[in-house]
Amino acid sequence: MEPVLEVEGVTKTFAGVRALDDVSFSLRPGEVHALVGENGAGKSTLIKVLTGVHKPDSGTIHARGVISTIYQEVNLIPLMSVASNVYLGREPRKRFGLVDWARMNSDAAALLKDYGIDTDVRRPLGTLSVGAQQMVALARAVSVDADVVIMDEPTSSLEPREVETLFEVIGRLHERGIAIVYVSHRMDELYRICERVTVLRDGRRVHTGPLADLPRLELVSMMLGRSVGDIRSHGATAFEGDHEAGREPVLRAEKLTSGNRLGGVSVEIKPGEIVGLAGLLGSGRTETARAIVGDLPLSGGTVLVGGKQVPQGNVAAAMRAGVSMLAEDRKTEGIIPHLSVRENIVLAALPKLSRFGLVSRARQDRIVDTFVKRLRIKVSSPDQKVAELSGGNQQKVLLARWLCTEPKVLLLDEPTRGIDVGAKAEVQALIDELAKEGLAVLLISSEMEELLDGADRLIVLKDGAVVGELAGEQLTQDHVLAAIASGGADD
């Protein structure tokens, strides 16, 4: 069958770095094609080349038909209505070119029902949950009569139920003969819905072929470029099991309450302990971390570090007391894109590194050098702009930023989200190491494996309240699910 999209020998270089090196890729009509690779492997660049955002330095692209893309972050307009977003730029018209609002709203409502979204389409898009917004983006992308739909990490912010809806939609698209390029780090998803896979590594294509016959371990080893035995000996994550915790908790957060988001959550962490927060999206995991670090106004509750009460609603005070938080969204809450890697790392520790308000360059350089080496951050120089790094390396820069503040308690909200397998393993190993050195860690992750392997103890949240606490033998997926299912009223 003639491919609907064909890329031949594409090379793309940014500032001397080869993001794509002679990559070829072809997509058959109606197939679901997985595109995998570590961060920095060239996936994002390839997508941008496919969609015309970047012009390749050399090579050819032949597309037959319309390509539509859904990005990891929702690229819509939050203040406009759901319906306006779906039909943005191609609004149904009445006479004199006036927008036919009635038709637009009814069409949008009908369309979105197919995607499991039953809501007033006149609401501003921003009032929907992130998962629902993602669905709207998908509905929009597909409704332009695309022949190819590219999905970049579409499930990263979806709840399990929404993932099922997404897969149903993908099944329908498949039947209609629409080809899909599916980018994801989640193995289960890939094996469930994709027929073929293309693996990229360091900007080169290392494999294309049917997915079903390809053992998972082999796929991972191709992505990482390591031998199979190597990986098996390490297990699924880079965590190495239990840590020896101190006896007295260094962090004691009691009855944290904030509106309808947190209803009296208590958390204790001992030095050297990793405590995981489990729960579905919106269960209050992120809010708990934000409350501890003073980024969420509280109507009740106290935070004690080393027995001393931390003033509320003051991030700087929490940091001085020894609590730092790696926020969930790297791009909007983490990196400062215009600044260099050096300045991003030392940002939170500036008071320590300056005297009389003057910043000491030498001390900065020493610290930055230490962390770049220790976290193995890939940079051409500390002066490189942080925006030029891959996701995994940006995440390491942020980890370095918080480690510079010499915290006693580190709150990690989705520390490995959206980063490649290799960087993920490195970050996990680092968290392990830090706990061994006596740091108290609060770990939030949507990945069950990461929580079960990484945490010594799990606190299960639901609707802003603690519904279970698991340790030792109970650290299994079944127990977590049972805790979530049993606690509180179900919607």
Binding site: P56, S58, I336, L347, A348, L358, T405
Partner: protein, 318 residues
């Protein structure tokens, strides 16, 4: 292929233009004037140009800081008018007290802007618009709507005096440019300012004193505007609250933008700002010397602004 090469070239050219365009333009204008303008290469002419540019530069330095935080200060012209109104009122007590009162007023006005922006959370353009309107009104009330001639020789020396052959106002502007550049590049305050402009949410989470820095930035901008008001009042030899600093906010923003500081914040270019001020001054001087009316000069300035913003746009859309 050739198409690709062209696009790459164009973005590269645009980026290069944003970085260095203002320097090239200044050099080109100077060369043009040396060749075609009578009496351009004279000490007297250079003095005039620099004296005229000095107050604009003082204001633009503060404006560059504010723009670096993703803000803007529309009230600088009104703050200059306040200076023009206050100096004659207190000059009887001596030059120093009069200048001190004017500067204190500027500092207070800037702090007010900062509080409105940082604590109350009003958008900078709206918060400073209030003072743009109200400030000049207050200045006119203070001065009773009058232009007041000044005769205090100490004070007038700020406008006409010189040290080692360099006009005092030019000297002050130059020293301030060096100080502000050091503030941005070398101090924790400066680095925080840039970080806040680059990503405010991340700065909050990094425990930076965001409100304090923002208030500080607007306060400095107000202080510098007040100083510019003092300098231009001394130069004129009269307190003229109706005309002092009129449209100065636009000249300052223009200089900053032409100098390559993006309006989206996160970056401050002080040397670029200096060059931006000189460029706009040279453009006006060149056109006037070649007997083109002021209206033409304005249109050419507009074209330069559009060009600078266009170049900046090309860069950010990468």
């Amino acid at each position: 292929m050739t198409d690709t090469a062209k696009t790459v070239d164009r973005t590269r050219v645009a980026r290069w233009l944003q970085e260095y365009g203002v320097y090239v333009a200044v050099v080109a204008l100077v060369l043009f004037n040396i060749a075609f303008t009578a009496n351009f290469l004279t000490v007297g002419n250079f003095r005039t140009q620099l004296i005229q540019a000095a107050p604009v530069l003082v204001v633009a330095l503060g404006m560059a800081l504010v723009i670096g935080t993703e803000g803007v200060d529309l009230s600088v012209g009104a703050v200059m008018a306040l200076s023009a109104a206050l100096v004659p009122l207190y000059l009887g007590a001596g030059t120093l007290p009069a200048v001190a009162v004017a500067l204190a007023a500027g500092l207070a006005a800037g702090t007010l802007n900062g509080v409105l922006v940082a604590k109350v959370g009003i958008q900078p353009i709206v918060a400073t618009l209030a003072l743009l309107v109200g400030g000049r009104g207050l200045a006119l009330v203070l001065a009773d709507g009058q232009l007041i001639q000044l005769h205090d020789p100490d004070f007038l020396a700020l406008g006409n005096g010189e040290v080692l052959g360099i006009p005092v106002s030019v000297l002050i502007a130059a020293v301030l440019a060096v100080l502000v550049a050091a503030l941005v590049g070398k101090t924790a305050f400066g680095r925080r300012l840039v970080a806040i402009g680059g990503n405010r949410r991340a700065s909050v989470l990094a425990g930076l004193p965001v409100n304090r820095v923002l208030i500080g930035v607007y306060a400095i901008c107000g202080l510098l505007a007040a100083l510019a008001g003092v300098l231009s009042t001394a130069r004129l030899g009269a307190g003229d609250p109706a005309d002092a600093g009129l449209l100065m906010e636009l000249s300052a923003i223009t200089a900053v933008v032409v100098g390559g500081t993006p309006l989206t914040g996160g970056r401050v270019r002080i040397l670029g700002t200096v060059m931006g001020v000189l460029l706009m001054q040279l453009v006006r001087a060149t056109l006037i010397k070649h007997n083109l009316p002021d209206s033409t000069a304005q249109m050419i300035q507009a074209a330069i602004i559009v060009g600078a913003v266009y170049v900046a746009r090309e860069r950010s859309s990468r």
